[in-house]
Amino acid sequence: MVPISRPAPGSGGITGTWRTLRPVVDLKKCIDCGICWLYCPESVIDWEKGQKIKIDYTYCKGCGICAHECPTKAIEMVPEAGL
C-alpha cells in the first residue's frame, strides 16, 4: 500500500568499492578490547570477546576510525590499489 523498506546490507550499494585505503589487522597486536568494534560507523567489524575481530571488506568504506582509535595500533590503513 505504501513503499516499505526492510533492513538489508548494501542499501547504499557495495560500499567496499568506495574506499581507497583498507584496514589490515595484525591479530598478534590485537588485545581484544572491542574499541574498534564499538566505534566502527558501518558495523563491519565483528567481535566476540575472546575471539578478537574480523572485518567485512564487502562494505567497509575505509574511513580509518578503527585504525586511529586502536590503542595498540594493531590496525594499519593500507592503500587499496594493487590488492
Binding site: M1, V2, P3, I4, S5, R6, P7
Partner: protein
C-alpha cells in the same frame, strides 16, 4: 443508561462534527483553534475532559503540528481526527500531501472560510478546494444533518480506501447555525464503523524494523506508488456510493453518493453547486420550475474524487450553470472542472458569494434565468 433508538436534538454544524467524532470513537485528536472551527475543538476537548470520549486530546502549537500529530497517530494504528479552516489548512499544506501519500486514514473537518488579505472570517470555498490535488478525498455537506452523517461516513471511507478525507462545512452558515437533527445511536455507529486494522497502511511497532519513506532505488517504484494512489481514488468512487447506501440503511437517510440530484427529471437546464447555499439554489430551482422553466440541480457532495460519470449524465442538458463560491485566475474551480466533462460551450460559470457576501435564493433565480436565456456575454460571470 438506556440508549434511545434515535436522539433528536438541535446542534450547530460544529457541534454536529464534534458529536459525530465522539460517536466514531477516535483514539487521538489534535487541533489548533481557528475561526470558524474553534467550537469543534472546544466541544471535543470537553467530551474528553468529562470522560465521555476516551481519547488523547493533544494541544498543539500550530495546524502543521496538528496534522503531524494526527498523522503519527494514524500511522501507528490509531483512529485520528483534526479540524481546521482557511489559513490553518494552508499552514498544514505540506503535511496534507505527505499524509495522502502515506495512505493515512485521517478524517479532517474544514469549516470553510475566506483567505486574506484582508482578514475575513466569513464563508468561501477557496480553502477546501485548494487541497483537491493533494490526494485527499474532499466533500462538502449542505445542512447540519449531513455534516453529522458525512463525518461518520468519512471515517469509514478513510479506513476502507486508505485515503484521508476532508469534510467541509460552510463557515458560520453551517458551523454556527443550529438545526434540528437526529443523532444515530452509538450501537449503530459501532456496527457501521468497526475498529481499525492495526497493520494498514503499515505496521509500525517496536521490535519490527521497517522503514517507510526512504529514497527509492528506482524512481519507477515511486511512480507506481503515485499511480496506485490515483487508482485507489477512482476505486473510492464506488466506496462513496456503497458507504452512503449502507449508512442510509442504518439510519434511514442517504444522500445519493457522489452527487445529489434534484428535479433533474426532464430538465433542459441544470444548476451545479456545492455546500450550504445549494439549499438556496434548490429554492430557486423550485420557483423556476413553478414558472415552467425546466431546470434541475446537481449538488456536488464529493469534489474529490471527482464525479465524472455523474456530471457526464448532464450531457443531454442544454445549459449548465455552475455556481462557484470561489475565485481563481482561471475562473471558478467547479466551473472549469464541470466544463472539462461537458465542454465549455455548455457551461456558464457564475462566481458569487465571494468573501462571504450573502447570495440568496432570488439572486440564484435571477442568475439562472439570465444564464439560460443567454444574457451573459462571458462564460465566467462575476456577481
Amino acid at each position: 443508561m438506556r440508549t434511545l433508538a434515535v436522539l433528536k436534538t438541535a446542534l450547530t454544524g460544529n457541534y454536529a462534527v464534534a458529536h459525530a467524532v465522539k460517536l466514531a470513537k477516535p483514539h487521538v485528536i489534535a487541533a489548533y483553534p481557528i475561526t470558524p472551527q474553534t467550537t469543534i475543538v472546544e466541544k471535543l476537548s470537553e467530551f474528553v475532559a468529562k470522560g465521555e470520549l476516551k481519547a488523547s486530546f493533544v494541544n498543539v502549537e500550530s495546524e502543521f503540528s496538528a496534522l503531524a500529530v494526527v498523522y503519527g497517530a494514524a500511522m501507528a494504528g490509531a483512529r485520528a481526527f483534526t479540524a481546521t479552516s482557511s489559513h490553518g489548512l494552508f499552514y498544514m499544506y505540506e503535511m496534507l500531501w505527505w499524509a495522502a501519500g502515506s495512505r493515512a486514514p485521517i478524517v479532517m473537518a474544514v469549516a470553510t472560510r475566506t483567505l486574506g488579505p484582508p482578514w475575513n472570517i466569513h464563508d468561501e470555498h477557496n480553502d477546501i478546494l485548494a487541497i483537491r490535488d493533494s490526494g485527499w478525498a474532499v466533500a462538502m455537506a449542505s445542512n447540519v444533518q449531513e455534516v453529522l452523517d458525512l463525518t461518520i461516513q468519512a471515517f469509514k471511507l478513510a479506513e476502507s480506501a486508505y485515503i484521508p478525507v476532508a469534510v467541509g462545512l460552510d463557515g458560520f452558515v453551517l458551523s454556527h447555525t443550529v438545526e434540528t437533527i437526529e443523532l444515530p445511536p452509538q450501537e449503530a455507529v459501532d456496527e457501521f464503523l468497526p475498529p481499525r486494522r492495526p497493520d494498514l497502511p503499515l505496521r509500525l511497532r517496536p521490535g519490527e524494523p521497517i522503514t517507510m519513506g526512504n529514497i527509492p532505488s528506482d524512481d519507477r517504484l515511486h511512480a507506481e506508488h503515485l499511480k496506485n494512489i490515483y487508482r485507489a481514488s477512482q476505486e473510492a468512487k464506488k466506496l462513496v456510493k456503497s458507504i452512503d447506501a449502507e449508512y442510509g440503511k442504518l439510519v434511514g437517510r442517504e444522500y445519493g453518493g457522489m452527487v445529489e440530484g434534484f428535479e433533474l427529471e426532464g430538465a433542459r437546464y441544470a444548476v451545479v453547486c456545492m455546500g450550504a447555499w445549494c439549499g438556496d439554489a434548490k429554492e430557486a430551482v423550485r420557483s423556476l420550475r413553478r414558472e415552467g422553466v425546466p431546470v434541475g440541480l446537481m449538488r456536488i457532495r464529493f469534489v474529490r474524487p471527482f464525479p465524472d460519470e455523474e456530471v457526464a449524465e448532464l450531457s443531454g442538458i442544454d445549459k449548465v450553470v455552475v455556481f462557484d463560491r470561489d475565485i481563481t485566475p482561471a475562473g471558478g474551480i467547479l466551473g472549469r472542472e464541470v466544463a472539462s466533462v461537458l465542454g465549455r460551450d455548455k457551461v456558464v460559470n457564475v462566481l458569487a458569494g465571494l468573501a462571504g457576501v450573502d447570495f440568496k435564493a432570488d439572486e440564484f433565480r435571477k442568475a439562472v434565468k439570465h444564464a439560460v436565456e443567454g444574457e451573459y456575454a462571458d462564460r465566467v460571470v462575476l456577481l
